[in-house]
Symmetry: C3
Subunit: 269 residues, 3 copies
Amino acid sequence: MMNPVITLTTDFGTRDSYVGVMKGVILGICPTAQVVDISHEIPPQNIAAAAFVLRTAVPYFPPGTVHLVVVDPGVGSERQPVAFATPEAVFVGPDNGIFGALWQQARERWSAAAVQAVRLEEPRFRRPDVSATFHGRDIFAPAAAHLAAGVPLQDLGPPLDELLHLPTQQPTWETDTSLVGAVVYIDHFGNCITNITAAHLEQLGAPEHLTATVRTHHLPLAHTYASVSPGEALALVGSSGHLEIAVRDGSASHTLAITPGTAVKVEKK
Amino acid sequence: MMNPVITLTTDFGTRDSYVGVMKGVILGICPTAQVVDISHEIPPQNIAAAAFVLRTAVPYFPPGTVHLVVVDPGVGSERQPVAFATPEAVFVGPDNGIFGALWQQARERWSAAAVQAVRLEEPRFRRPDVSATFHGRDIFAPAAAHLAAGVPLQDLGPPLDELLHLPTQQPTWETDTSLVGAVVYIDHFGNCITNITAAHLEQLGAPEHLTATVRTHHLPLAHTYASVSPGEALALVGSSGHLEIAVRDGSASHTLAITPGTAVKVEKK
Amino acid sequence: MMNPVITLTTDFGTRDSYVGVMKGVILGICPTAQVVDISHEIPPQNIAAAAFVLRTAVPYFPPGTVHLVVVDPGVGSERQPVAFATPEAVFVGPDNGIFGALWQQARERWSAAAVQAVRLEEPRFRRPDVSATFHGRDIFAPAAAHLAAGVPLQDLGPPLDELLHLPTQQPTWETDTSLVGAVVYIDHFGNCITNITAAHLEQLGAPEHLTATVRTHHLPLAHTYASVSPGEALALVGSSGHLEIAVRDGSASHTLAITPGTAVKVEKK
């Protein structure tokens, strides 16, 4: 590839040199890489948030993109450094649950032979002195850069059969016409994204016959923010394919006092 | 072009995957693009701030740069998605007033034939499924990438004769020797940038004969921060060509309690 | 070089267009540059923090990288704009002490002939109109881009024999077995990095025989965060080679009320 793409998702923030250092390591190995920041503001050590942010980004990158994720509460412990490849993308990071859902979905979608994982063990593809505290620099960035530069996945270490999969909270059906989910992520605008998907809503019926309840607020299900007046709240399927609680030109999180975990019920009117 | 430049100006913040997703879409279409962030911290839905930040950046980019702006309170409503090209640069975003001043200046500077606008309508240059909430990903990023890759502007949609132009607050002459303007933007350092330009000041006279008044403070007009002692306030023409109120090695906004809209008077001593 | 690397370290923040403007200037001169942000969140005008952040990044970039630093409380005053080159890297910025330690180390490591500095004076390698307030845009970004594009250092201005070197606080030996240092930098995670290095610790003895005291807390010296339970504090040599005070999965700065300058004593148990 002429201009391989490597994305970065971390909880490092952008104040220190940590992110820049990883890019320096990458460009020393793969000088033509296009390095793209997805986010460095994952809440510290929040594996679920990292997994959510990554899943919303992956489908929009070109085939062969290498996604490097370093949210790593277990650095220095026995969690494994891993990489895995699908026919669409490559993933590099700690095996702490970040990749569980992506791995499982890939295994269901493609043949097991098309979705391979390895433990990052080969010293040639690490920095010479691996520190105890910064595997992003010493293990993961070199692996991502070598993979982007064309090194075959299996050269980086022995194969793995499974990656760690953390259970994620799923919505529950109260009745056939009433589904209770929860807010799983709140974005920069204060939009509150739930674990209820467009597929769930299709089982419930047409949006105009549904209502969403969050705390004591009953909200219409709409197609766009412009369906309500500025300052009013609504529920809609957002760009990630999940039901979101939003306030037009405002912050639903602030206005409705929603935090991660707040319950959201959708039911027939 | 070998390495076309695409800039991004949004109110998306950098915490979520929104900006990374737009870059993924761009690199899938134009793999050699140099994508440059101008700002993702435009105050949410603040069209005036986006227009100001963009205007301070545009003159410093190489010819042919594509400037992509997504500050879009009307996403999902009837505002038009547009692109326009001048002999120096290309602009892509919602027609909500962001581009009004740039468009008008370009029309005055060059012939109408040299400054063309289109409505972004052609499905080939959008993502297949356009969401109701994320036109940055589905309409604007693809358009910018195709334009950077060499697609002619007129292929993206039907021509437009006008872009929306929002009135901007101009300084007013109280007398021939006294001009009253306002703070329009406060930067990261707390420098308070006004709508009074170097051209206005030339009409008033030499800086050493002028004084700036903000709230109850009378400030000298100076050439550099170093004209006053650390911690002292001054007025000077900043790097954007506008009069700024600054505090040497400090924040004028905090020290003098200045907010956007605060009046600034310049008059002869 | 095909893809020269230019890094940026500033106190500009990322809200305004200042950083984007410097990148526009760079790409106009050196279109194939890989521009990497190290940090734009250096505390305003904090030269010591900029020097620390830069030093932690430099060793990880490929040979020939141009490091552009703009933390410049003296912009508009008489401090000199400089560039210097070592066999490994090139540095561009104001001569206000940012580069002192790097310059001195380079002079000690290589011959004086291999480490050259110049005053950035040559008008061909500046923007035509140099403003009084934004030398990052008008002097430093053009210099960095021309150097990355292959212009020889000596073409940019007359040679300099010395760069400004600010004294930095060093740890002091209370006795042969007791060393007192200070916290010099606190990172995004709240890890508190001291001026005590791995070399200092080697003089004291094996880590298991040492204890670190910060305020009233006595902490073990450990190899990894995983040596203690989540929420517990420890001292360890971090990825920068300096002793850090950390809390596993937490913030040492918040938990132990540590600020820059807080004393840290290491002694034999």
